[in-house]
């Protein structure tokens, strides 16, 4: 049993719903009680979808349990097929139905329909949402393509030459409720097209079962979100010899690396290598003098595997930040995240527990947090600027404007989205600094809420001596006076460092001299 307050991922059947809702001509009959219909609102409210997810809930009740719940399943399948006429039917169960073992998938297969039926077995008590999405996409692809395995030749990534046409690729992995998938797809298609590469199809987002059947018309697969598409890409590679890409094109370096990888796989010469570095404004914005203050900014990163790894690389190599914490809730990606963390001399935090993440965040004392909705809340409590880089997300993370994370425009968006909260943080300190001016309106609050002013409260406290509660250290008047002279933007850090130093040296009272001692010690 695991105590959970907020959860990063939903159950695996929600992952299956993400696949079904992303696609066309598919219906998902879910053996589930009425409460499970809450999942619809993820799509209609967070994604603002104007269509209901294509899901029928069998809605069994306690009184059905003594009777024939299998009949109820069949009745719902029959009605759903008649009403929605799907080209492929997904059948599965949620956590409670898994316990009563009606085998809805087998029941559906025995009902004599001529459409393909995918029997989804998604263990609700051990797996989670992303796994469920990945498994569903894989099972669906397998069901629709398995007959072609025996008579299809291995697909050579070079065959486009023989065919006398531009190379074709599939873009795999984007789904609803993924982070900025809608716009990433447009950006990546644009980039590929500029390089003379056509998109055969995008899946699951916007694809139909017919599209899945023509996956093998492409030469290679772009595995855009490994959490969702890697299992499918691997199956296509094993059975059809289709190569797939490993680089995730988030950030300038990775986007260039991605373009290189695609060209290499297709044996397509890369002729515009020089131009690529000027496609995004990020490199220049990051280099321009205004960005000097970004140097060494301490940043804490937590999210799904794909976005956390990419964020760490951009933070360090493209913006000149210092990564002081890195972690993920995606256990499937733990190995990769650990490797990335190791390169940064960090130990990766792999956890489902947002309180553990908050604790780690507190300890790392970052100046910027890049995380999920959960970290946004934690950062707000701690008064640290934050930008959301990964699911789980809220409605405001599905913006109306075009705002991908991938490719050139993605890099522009990332520069803006990460740097603006930092500037807002600076603004916060300016407000603090000018608060004694007569124009200042008391109670002025910016986006950070109340906690941002903790150091200020400490300084303004009327008590002559304040005890640092945890360690019993006392700030003398001279120490406090000296602290006020420290520039506002490093004051918090100086306070923490001085206290750390005092503890280390067993100094019970912090005077102005202690401040200087500590400064010398840490420099």
């Amino acid at each position: 049993m695991e105590l959970t307050l907020w959860t990063y991922e939903g159950p695996p059947h929600v992952g299956a719903m993400r696949i079904a809702s992303s696609m066309k001509d598919i219906h998902y009959v879910l053996h589930a009680p009425q409460g499970d219909t809450y999942a619809d609102l993820l799509f209609t409210m967070i994604e603002r979808r104007g269509q209901r997810p294509p899901v029928t809930y069998t809605t069994f009740q306690a009184r059905d349990l003594g009777g024939d719940t299998a009949e109820l399943v069949k009745k719902n399948i029959k009605e759903a097929v008649e009403r929605f006429k799907p080209k492929t039917l997904l059948v599965g169960e949620s956590c409670t139905a898994e316990l009563i073992q009606d085998q809805p998938g087998s029941l559906a297969k025995g009902m004599g329909f001529d459409m393909p039926i995918v029997n989804l077995e998604l263990p609700a008590y051990s797996k989670k949402e992303n796994w469920g999405a990945s498994e569903t996409f894989y099972q669906l692809t397998r069901t629709l393509l398995k007959e072609k395995v025996s008579y299809s030749e291995k697909i050579s990534p070079l065959r486009w030459r023989e065919f006398g046409r531009r190379p074709k690729v599939n873009i795999l992995g984007p789904t609803l409720l993924g982070f900025r998938c809608r716009d990433d797809v447009i950006e990546i298609q644009r980039i590929l097209s500029e390089q003379g590469i056509d998109t055969n199809l995008v899946a699951p987002l916007g694809a139909s079962p017919d599209d899945i059947e023509r996956l093998i018309d492409a030469e290679i697969n772009i595995c855009l979100y490994p959490e969702i598409a890697e299992a499918t890409c691997e199956w296509l590679k094993r059975n059809f010899g289709m190569e797939y890409t490993n680089t995730i094109p988030i950030g300038i370096k990775n986007t260039i690396e991605f373009i290189n990888e695609v060209h290499k796989k297709l044996d397509l010469p890369l002729t515009n290598k020089k131009e690529l570095e000027n496609k995004s404004k990020l490199p220049w914005y990051s280099k321009s003098v205004d960005s000097n203050y970004l140097t060494g900014k301490r940043v804490f990163i937590f999210g799904d595997g794909t976005h956390a790894i990419a964020a760490a690389k951009i933070a360090k190599e493209e913006l000149g930040f210092e990564v002081v914490g890195l972690g993920t809730y995606s256990r499937e990606m733990a190995r990769q995240v650990r490797a990335t963390a190791k390169d940064l001399n960090l130990e990766a935090l792999i956890t489902n527990n947002y309180l553990e993440v908050e604790d780690a965040m507190k300890k790392a004392a970052p100046e910027l947090v890049l995380g999920t909705q959960m970290e946004r809340h934690s950062a707000k409590r701690l008064g640290i600027p934050c930008s959301v880089i990964s699911t789980p997300m809220h409605v405001q993370d599905v913006p109306a404007r075009y705002s991908p994370q991938m490719g050139w425009e993605g890099a522009n968006v990332i520069f803006d989205d990460w740097v603006h909260p930092l500037m807002m943080g600076l603004e916060e300190h300016l407000i603090d600094m000018f608060k004694h001016d007569f124009e200042f309106i008391d109670g002025h609050q910016s986006h950070l809420g109340h906690t941002a002013t903790q150091t200020k409260d400490f300084l303004n406290s009327d008590e002559k001596k304040e005890i640092n509660s945890k360690e019993g250290i006392i700030w003398t008047e001279s120490g406090r006076a000296e602290l006020t002279k420290v520039p506002f933007f490093v004051r918090g850090k100086v306070k923490t460092n001085t206290e750390k130093y005092a503890i280390l040296r067993g100094i019970p009272e912090i005077s102005d001299e202690t401040l200087y001692d500590a400064k010398a010690y840490f420099s």
């Binding site: 105590l3 939903g10 159950p11 809450y38 619809d40 979808r49 309180l355």
Partner: protein, 418 residues
């Protein structure tokens, strides 16, 4: 009883389960913690239904069952014990801990009553444990509150003191208003259930007169009757009419002269009628379709028809307790079509066929209907907003007039320029 048409429907539904009521119950009783014993789905449901996540460590959580818990129930009990210990160590301020059963815990027959009993002995004098089921195989949305309140009744001491007991969660400001009005009427001993602190449970007995504020408390009412309480029969305090009848019924139970009631509430009524006017202008003659969800549908239909002059196409309700709803049904216009239960597809067919001006529905259906050009009001807002009482009648109407007003603005010439 008016000639109301009763229908029943079964099939796939689109409603929340009883766990959802934790979202407002935990705010009502800040010293309580709600621990759902369930699956990841339960945890995900509550956090999604909460709409916006709350900027704090929440006072609810889920003990998520894992494969090993399903294998042996004895171990599951031990595991739950461990989780509770951790939780109480972390949150020592918790005074009452609700162990909330879910669909999976019900199906595997996890005996939360026994667990609660054991924990009560262990934490005697520190934390009280109660249990109830919020499972979707037994309860719908607001019914979760019914379960939670019912679970608290055995903890309530007996007293033969005469008192008015308001039963059902109310917004604090509304509760204060009600108490003030009752005191003006001459009823001085008024208490609320649930109370604002879980430890301050009212005492009950044969001179307790129960006045329901919410229509979804069937089991609670039964248990209160069992404890000797008298239940005052009244419509629910939504809108001017319902609230007035509600005050009158309470006054009657306390043998207070009807004239005195009118004297006190008349100014409120007049004021509320004035405030209602602008909303009525928008709502008048508009056709309303209520899908089942919050169990408030019948009272809302009564208010929106009788006071806002809307036409009722269909009034859905997740379940119908005719006894509890008697006074409400009496106030409905003749030939009102009430549909108990749901077949969401067939019901949506009827929505489309009847071409309503406004549909009251859950959040899963609202945007899809809007995309089809049908205005909606999501029902979950009814359980979060202060809508009870005469003073709030206009605010209540405002929840329904706003989408229509918005529609007018957006489809007027100001926005569409082509």
């Amino acid at each position: 009883m008016s000639k109301v048409e009763f229908n029943k429907e079964t099939g796939p539904r689109e409603v929340f389960c009883g766990l959802t009521s934790i979202v407002w119950l935990h705010r009502r009783m800040p010293d309580a913690f709600f621990l759902v014993v369930g699956s990841r789905t339960c945890a995900h449901l509550i956090q999604s239904a909460a709409g916006v996540m709350i900027f704090a460590e929440p006072r609810f959580g889920t003990a998520i069952l894992e494969e090993k818990d399903l294998a042996g129930l004895a171990d599951a009990h031990e595991e739950l014990d461990r989780v509770v210990n951790d939780l109480i160590a972390r949150r020592p301020e918790i005074k009452t801990l609700f162990l909330v059963g879910s669909c999976p815990s019900e199906v595997i027959k996890l005996d939360l009553a026994t667990v609660a009993e054991k924990l009560n002995k262990k934490f005697l004098g520190q934390v009280r444990f109660v249990n109830y089921s919020g499972s979707g195989i037994e309860t719908t949305f607001t019914q979760g509150e019914d379960g939670a309140l019912k679970a608290l009744i055995p903890l309530m001491n007996s007293s033969d003191e005469e008192k008015l007991l308001l039963v059902g969660t109310l917004a604090n400001n509304v509760e204060d208003r009600f108490k003030k009005i009752f005191r003006n009427l001459g009823i001085s001993n008024i208490e609320s259930f649930p109370p604002r602190q879980s430890t301050e449970l009212p005492k009950i007995g044969k001179n307790t007169k129960v006045l329901l504020t919410q229509p979804y408390l069937s089991d609670t009412v039964r248990c209160l009757k069992h404890r000797g309480c008298e239940v005052i029969s009244a419509p629910f305090p939504l809108g001017i009419e319902g609230s007035s009848e509600w005050f009158l019924a309470a006054a009657k139970a306390f043998k207070i002269n009807e004239l005195k009631v009118h004297e006190i509430i008349s100014p409120l009524i007049n004021r509320a009628k004035l405030a209602l006017e602008s909303h009525k202008e928008i709502l008048k003659g508009k056709r309303l379709f209520l899908l089942p969800e919050s169990q408030l549908e019948i009272s809302l239909a009564r208010f929106l028809h009788n006071e806002c002059e809307m036409d009722l196409i269909e009034v859905g309700t997740p379940y119908l307790n005719k006894d509890l709803m008697k006074e409400e049904i009496n106030l409905l216009p003749d030939n009102t079509k009430i549909v108990e239960g749901q077949h969401v597809e067939k019901q949506l067919d009827r929505v489309r066929e009847s071409n309503p001006d406004l549909v009251v529905c859950g959040m899963g259906l609202a945007n899809p209907l809007e995309a089809e050009g049908i205005s909606t009001k999501w029902s979950i807002e009814m359980v979060f907003s202060p809508i009870h009482g005469i003073d709030q009648a206009a605010d209540l109407a405002g929840l329904f007039s706003k989408p229509l007003k918005r529609n007018q603005i957006l489809t007027s010439k100001t926005l569409v320029t082509y």
